[in-house]
Amino acid sequence: MNLDLTPEELAFQAEVRAWLEANVPAEPLPSMDTAEGWALHQEWEAKLAAERLSVVSWPREVGGREASLVEWVIFEEEYYRAGAPGRVSQNGIFLLAPIIFDHGTPEQQARFLPSMATGEKIWAQAWSEPEAGSDLASLRSTAVRDDARGGWVLNGQKTWSSRATFAHWGFGLFRSDPTSEKHAGLTYYLFPLDAEGITVRPIAQLDGEAGFAEIFFDDVFVPDADVLGAVGAGWNVAMSTAGNERGLSLRSPGRFCAAADRLLELWKDRGADAPQVRDAVVDAWIGAQAYRLFTWGTVTRLADGGEMGAAGSVNKVFWSELDIAIHEAGLDLLGADAELLDTPWMDGYVFSLSGPIYAGTNEIQRNIVAERILGLPREPKGPAGKETAK
């Protein structure tokens, strides 16, 4: 058992660190949820991509450098330690790309991945619907076959689509078999957000910024070439990489370790005025270390050919609550200054509040931990009044 890096890994770490030191903007970029900030974040992605640092773990022919899982974690640690900008391309590279690698045709891989790697095309997810949140399989948006044009016609409404206000393309599930229920009869579609029939309506978030949006589909045509995976297999296609090691279920520890280190610096400045915050500061730092070490354990297991599985849910509950706790401690240390708008601590805090909700609420995750890891009985599901206990 050891946590030692190989000479190659150390060299990679040094290269990444040096490049970031020389290139990370001195001042934080404006929010990516504004037109100005969006453009600057896209420019930053292009700069990363020019060094093959935007998607280090991808194959070379689509913009990566075939980095190992260990190197990916190293990259992320260095990235957040350097205070580099948030990744505007995150939803594409972490959520969609693994599915394109696994289920996309060679033509789709060649068409979509390079422009995703450079940040030229930014992708937004379109999962939730007004009546389908945690119960995602109850979604109602439809896809109807159009043989004459060789494709599908989408109708319906998606919501809580992060980055959709400014993004170029979207991805999501639609019901392609009107007689189907739940997980069956869904298909995974890709669509440009400026397609005829699509209306994107920004939604102001908790902090007033338009970080997510509703997407309305009114007879939107999608050619067969933009169907991802088999028709009717959308649920399995989407879920096949839900536990993907490079997806949100293995969120890199770098962000939390960097935030905990900033918290310690803040404690040195402000701790004397707020000694009561001591325990929260220590616990935040310990939590970040726990997450880092836990992640190295996961990486070891995955490198040995293991699978993430339900352990991804353990991970998700932990990091999302840790993120909030770190920022709460920071705000407590700031005292009356905490409520000032547009400080890194308040921005980080507001962002952290979404963690326990997106990518599967923490309630759903706890169900998964209890049922799939602890082996507790499934809870009865079904319409109220028609309980169907197994």
Partner: protein, 289 residues
């Protein structure tokens, strides 16, 4: 980079587990608590024969030359199987080549010597003895005890943290078993979210406690950080375990109580969480917490 136990370490842990289960370590603990230490002394000898007390003594000094990770592996099992006797003192604080049962006071972390009624006090003069909430432990006042170096104290803290993780795991396992069989309102209570979410939180806490304890064994983080988190995780397991068991868990007769009281004792033994939080902060910032 290989942050997982080796096959040898896993096998070592299994060997201790097998030996303790074959010896009915819970019955041994109950006897120990009622004053009959003979079965406990016999089990101690068998574990000492595996080399437990000499585990971290270098090979050239006649020990097993084990690492602190090996120590963590052993103590997690000792916690899970409810070992009795001064293991922290005899295998971590002051490792014994000959398997002797020794004890010591090490104020301020451990101002009382544990189990001095059966173990040799390494230094100082024994005074009055007091019962612990953990009926398998007794606490003896000591005056004039010699001090230990930081490395010895850190080993003891690490062993205590590992024992807490093991005890927490046991409480969780027993609680899961219980809520799968206990029925109320016509269903296993483990099917209710009010129960399963609490137990999920225990699973999550313990899953993050173990890497911290192992990370401390490798010197990646201060042992105090591991003690803080292991205490919190085990204590959450104990509180939750008691709650989901209901009234039966609150009885002395039910074995769960042995682990609940053990955890309560170890949370503050070898440095309270407050003490160790202060120590972590001082290590990180140079400012006394």
């Amino acid at each position: 980079m290989k942050f997982e136990l080796t096959e040898d370490q896993v096998a070592f842990g299994e060997a201790i587990t097998d030996l303790m289960r074959a010896s009915d370590s819970v019955a041994v603990a109950r006897a120990w608590a009622s004053g009959d230490t003979a079965p406990g002394v016999a089990l101690w000898k068998r574990l000492a024969d595996l080399g437990l007390t000499a585990l971290v003594v270098p090979e050239d000094e006649g020990g097993l030359g084990g690492t602190l990770v090996d120590l963590v592996v052993a103590f997690e099992v000792l916690g899970r199987e409810l070992a009795v006797g001064p293991w922290i003192e005899s295998a971590a604080l002051a490792p014994q080549l000959e398997g002797e049962m020794v004890t010591a006071a090490a104020a301020p972390l451990a101002p009382y010597a544990a189990d001095a009624q059966v173990a040799r006090l390494l230094s100082g003069v024994a005074g009055a003895s007091h019962p612990s909430i953990d009926t398998t432990r007794s606490l003896t006042e000591v005056t004039g005890a010699d001090a230990f170096d930081v490395a010895a104290l850190d080993r003891a803290v690490l062993a205590c943290a590992a024992q807490l993780v093991g005890a927490g795991e046991r409480v969780l396992a027993d609680s899961v078993t219980y809520v799968k069989q206990r029925k109320q309102f016509g269903r296993e209570i483990g099917s209710y979210q009010a129960i399963k979410h609490q137990l999920a939180d225990v699973r999550i806490a313990l899953d993050f406690a173990r890497p911290l304890v192992l990370g401390a064994a490798l010197g990646e983080i201060p042992v105090s950080a591991a003690k803080v988190y292991a205490s919190d995780a085990a204590y959450l397991a104990a509180r939750t375990g008691l709650q989901v068991h209901g009234a039966i868990g609150y009885t002395a007769e039910f074995d769960l109580s042995l682990w609940l009281n053990r955890i309560r004792a170890l949370v503050t033994a070898w440095g309270t969480p407050a003490y160790h939080r202060g120590r972590v902060l001082e290590t990180l910032t140079g400012v006394a917490g």
